[in-house]
């Protein structure tokens, strides 16, 4: 007889809510008439994400003490719950955006929402993964959904290419991560994070074991770091990012740039702090190096971009670098810095891609710095929102990005890495040039292009989504204390 472990269903409620909505949406693809599918899928998706939001808030409140559930496969703690809250928030906004801006027809719209919800459920599981097996399974779970989402609008030029590229590179990243996990298992004989840290902490009996175990473990950690680097699109594992972000439908890009990064960074912090905490001296340097590489490559490459989606893709690489500074500090302050930074970052990343989506729909062609001309004056709300996102990305005090940068730099300095502070500061200075370039393109050029005539597209929901992102991004500047308290409680469930 097979013993099934006790399952704390409540700990999984966010994931279950999302999965249930995904299933309903998928049924809708067959049972609901075509003309209602978009409305049906989007409504189900909204309800699903709101349900997930409520469940994760409840979990946050109700899980003051960290514990593992389902035989140690999943963490029920505030770190997981806060990440799920952020993910569901992004999900609601993405749903609103996709409602209006995804695809030219309604062929696959219900499937799209099913995939969106499924990928969100995968990420919600990923952030709470408690052993290497659930980690890998949930990674594949959300990745496969994302591969399809990238290519779902297959009539759009580049969408299939983006999907394929993401599939190939993403699978490579997953394989690397899996291989690393295998090596770690070989070195420690266990897959659960708690078990790994105990195994590493054991006094090693023989010299041979010491040598073998250690090199296996080090290579394993390195491969896991690389695998996670692919998902968080940190340099030098970022090669796929600009192409995929450019080719994918813009709502999908918005979702990936915000949510995937949240999931990958939150999980990386948890994995490193709980399983490999005794090897902090190794990974903290590794992540610092990756952070510097991301800051340098992301910022320099963004300088020369003219396609706005590619520009924002490189900007997301550089922001991965910033957040990795918080991760590499490996301290409670770094954990708070990372968690806090993710809130305004995801709002700004989502919001800026949403604005691009609106412009793209208006023009019917890819958005470049050239054809953004005059956008700020034509669409005052979206223009001002983009203005806030760009200045916020650049770390000017118009949004939480400023506080986030301040926090990660403080964490780096506290860790004794003054040089990392200098790199961060220089990177910010470089980044100003291209962020301001977007503002300049929107407001300070005369529109030379004759725009496509007709009435502006219907996008009330996009306005709501962008408004939500704007509110979070600006509000997080004023509500630093409450958000930091949330992040502190979340980070306190990790063993620092």
């Amino acid at each position: 007889m097979i013993h099934t472990p006790h399952i704390d269903w409540f700990a999984l409620s966010t994931i279950l809510a999302l999965l249930a909505a995904s299933g309903v949406s998928l049924l809708g693809a067959v049972l609901v008439p075509a003309r209602l599918r978009r409305r049906f899928g989007a409504s189900v998706s909204t309800v699903g994400f709101l349900g997930g939001l409520v469940a994760s808030i409840w979990l946050y409140v109700d899980s003051p003490h960290a514990q593992t559930v389902v035989s140690g496969a999943f963490y029920r703690d505030r770190w997981t719950a806060l990440a799920q809250i952020i993910l569901c928030g992004i999900g609601v906004a993405t749903t609103l955006l996709s409602w209006e801006h995804l695809g030219r027809n309604d062929d696959h719209i219900a499937e799209f929402f099913a995939l969106l919800l499924a990928s969100a459920a995968g990420m919600a599981f990923f952030v709470g993964a408690g052993n290497l097996m659930t980690l890998f399974l949930s990674l594949e779970w959300f990745s496969i959904a994302l591969y399809v989402m990238c290519a779902i609008d297959y009539e759009q030029e580049g969408a299939l290419e983006a999907g394929l590229k993401y599939l190939v590179v993403g699978s490579f990243g997953s394989a690397v991560l899996l291989f690393g996990s295998a090596l770690v298992y070989g070195a420690t004989g266990t897959i659960s994070f708690d078990g790994i840290v105990r195994a590493i902490g054991l006094p090693t009996p023989t010299l041979e074991r010491l040598m073998m175990g250690n090199s296996l473990l080090v290579v394993g950690i390195a491969l896991i770091v690389a695998g996670l680097g692919f998902k968080m699109s940190a340099a030098p594992f970022h090669m796929w990012t600009p192409d995929v972000y450019e080719g994918a439908p813009t709502p999908v890009t918005a979702w990936m740039s915000a949510a995937t990064k949240v999931a990958a960074l939150v999980l990386a912090m948890r994995l490193m702090q709980s399983a490999f905490v005794l090897d902090r001296h190794l990974w903290s340097v590794a992540f610092a190096v990756i952070a510097v590489a991301s800051l340098v490559i992301g910022n320099l490459a963004a300088l020369v971009q003219t396609n706005v989606k590619r520009l924002l893709a490189y900007s997301s690489v550089s922001h991965a670098g910033f957040m990795l500074i918080g991760l590499s500090a490996g301290s409670a302050l770094g954990g708070r810095a990372l968690m806090y930074y993710l809130i305004p970052y995801s709002a700004m990343a989502f919001g800026s891609f949403a604005v691009v989506a609106a412009r793209e729909k208006e023009l019917g062609e890819p958005v470049t710095l050239e054809n953004l001309a005059g956008f700020g004056w034509e669409r005052p709300f979206l223009g001002v929102a983009m203005w806030f996102f760009m200045f916020g990305f650049a770390g000017l005090p118009v949004g939480g990005g400023f506080v986030g940068k301040f926090y990660v730099l403080a964490a780096a300095y506290e860790h004794g890495w003054a040089w990392l502070v200098v790199v961060g500061v220089l990177a910010t200075l470089v980044s100003l040039y291209y962020y301001l370039g977007v503002v300049r393109a929107m407001y300070m050029r005369r529109p030379e292009l004759a725009l496509a005539g007709g009435s502006p597209p219907r996008d009330r929901l996009t306005h709501i989504a962008v408004g939500m992102a704007l509110a979070v991004s600006v509000g997080s500047l004023f509500a630093v204390s409450p958000l930091i308290d949330l992040a502190r409680h979340a980070a306190s469930s990790l063993p620092f």
Binding site: L396, Y413, V421, Y443
Partner: protein, 489 residues
């Protein structure tokens, strides 16, 4: 204290006003009127603040403190000292005049324009009132955002280069300052300016000083100045040179000198040399400048040098003179740039080769320009004379040659101001000066006259500012009286 609300109102009223102006779909005329009204209310609140301020009391007054980042000891802490009251007043008055000028000339896209002007007002007042390093930094940066857009959208033909230079220069300095703030705050365990300990770290001092020197601007950090001052709309140039530049000097007075006494003495000579160089070099450039705005722009560079000379002389006289000179030069420079705008509107140019002979038939313009020129070249009895005299007297206490250099530069100042006056008002009539070009209109006079009146008042009673800025010893001994040595000294 029951008057504490005034401090916050002065910051947030214009910012709230900016949002209202931006959101309300009013006509061009109504938008402008509303913005001018808000900026006048701001002046009213400042008068209330100045009237209720106790100038015989040395500590921080009308302070408000609220939790912002609970854990790092960062608070929203605002309040005013004697000298801050004057700088806030300068901001309120100058911004009201410049907003009025924007209304008078009818800037395009009024909702965005006036919202940005009000935002700039709030941010600048915030710089002068904040008593926490992070709050200070936030407002210091926030000033840049409206300036960037104001120049980039409403500026002249070469505005793109101007904005890029402005932003890159100032942000390079500001980010160094941010790094210095992080290091200072984490070592001191507080970011508070009132209770913060002093530090002996020379690196931190330099981080702050570079940011302030770029903003002021001081030689050799003034590379952004000529382009920005030429390409910005005249009222924005006026704000930039009259008010925003003072934020850099204020930063030296409020942060760099009191928090870093040892590095201040260590670098004193170097800074005095740079300040004197700015004074002489700026004056010479002003003498060579081919246009109205160029003269005023480079004279601002010279004046920043002079004020820094006073601040870093380390004497009471020099410091009092520096504050007086900040106010006086702020008023002069705002008025002169507005006059430059008025002249440019009539002749389409500020180029001296194309100007001249404007005094004939335009008595108000001639009177205003003469009055301002005379005050600006520090004729005895003028506010600028009092300020410069105090600064030079303070510098003299340090060593006689500083005063000698300063005095020599003031002679050049007389030369460039007289050159400006004669090139615009006298000489042969310029090719662009039409007979039909009007004199200063009542509306324009109404903007500049209060500034000139303020200058005349200060000329009559300079002690109003110079004796009501500091009470007792400054920099005050910090209450915690601890000093720490940051690494990398």
């Amino acid at each position: 204290m029951s008057t504490a609300y005034l401090t916050s109102i002065l910051i947030w009223l214009p910012i709230a006003g900016a949002i209202v102006v931006w959101l309300l779909p009013l006509s061009k005329y109504a938008t402008g009127s509303l913005a001018v009204l808000i900026s006048l209310i701001e002046v009213g609140f400042w008068i209330e603040q100045a009237a209720r301020f106790d100038f015989h009391h040395s500590g921080l007054q009308m302070s408000e403190q609220a939790k912002w980042f609970g854990e790092l000891g960062i608070t929203y802490h605002v309040g005013v000292y004697g000298f801050s009251v004057w700088l806030v007043g300068l901001t309120a008055v100058a911004m009201a005049a410049c907003t009025g000028y924007g209304f008078w000339v009818g800037r395009d896209r009024p909702r965005a324009y006036f919202a940005l002007m009000l935002l700039l007002t709030g941010a600048t007042v915030g710089v002068f009132e904040s008593q926490d390093l992070i709050v200070f930094y936030a407002f210091f940066e926030a000033m840049l955002i409206p300036l960037y857009v104001l120049i980039g959208v409403w500026g002249g033909a070469r505005r793109m280069e101007a904005t890029v230079k402005l932003v890159i220069y100032t942000m390079a300095g500001s980010l160094l300052m941010l790094a210095a703030i992080v290091v200072y705050g984490l070592h001191a365990h507080t970011f508070d300016l009132v209770n913060g300990p002093t530090s002996t770290s020379r690196w931190l001092f330099l981080g702050f000083m570079v940011a302030f020197a770029i903003k002021a601007p001081l030689f050799p950090f003034h590379g952004w100045l000529p382009d920005s001052y030429r390409e910005a709309p005249p009222e924005v140039t006026a704000v930039l040179s009259g008010v925003v530049a003072k934020a850099g000097l204020y930063g030296m007075l409020r942060i760099a000198i009191p928090l870093f006494p040892d590095p201040t003495s260590f670098y004193r000579t170097a800074i005095l040399v740079l300040a004197a160089a700015a004074l002489v070099y700026g004056s010479m450039l002003a003498f060579r400048a081919p246009d109205f705005r160029g003269v005023v722009a480079y004279s601002s560079l010279a004046q920043s040098g002079l004020i820094a000379l006073g601040l870093f002389s380390g004497t009471t006289l020099g410091r009092n003179g520096a504050v007086l000179q900040m106010i006086a030069h702020g008023l002069v420079s705002v008025s002169l740039f507005l006059l430059a705008g008025i002249v440019e509107r009539r002749t389409t140019t500020g180029d001296f080769a194309l100007l001249g002979g404007m005094a004939r038939g335009r008595p108000v313009l001639a009177t205003l320009l003469m009055t301002l020129g005379v005050i600006s070249l520090a004729v005895p009895g003028s506010a600028n004379f009092a300020g410069e005299f105090l600064i030079l007297a303070g510098a003299f206490q340090r060593a006689w040659w500083w005063a000698a250099i300063g005095a020599a530069a003031i002679v050049i100042a007389a030369m460039y101001m007289l050159r400006l006056i004669s090139a615009v008002l006298h000489e042969a009539r310029g090719s662009t000066v039409a007979d039909a070009a009007l004199d200063v209109r009542p509306g324009e006079l109404a903007l500049i006259a209060p500034l000139v009146a303020g200058l005349l008042l200060l000329s009559a009673w300079p002690a109003a500012v110079s004796h009501h800025s500091f009470v007792g010893k400054w920099p005050k001994q910090p209450t915690s009286s601890s000093t720490f040595l940051a690494p990398g000294r």
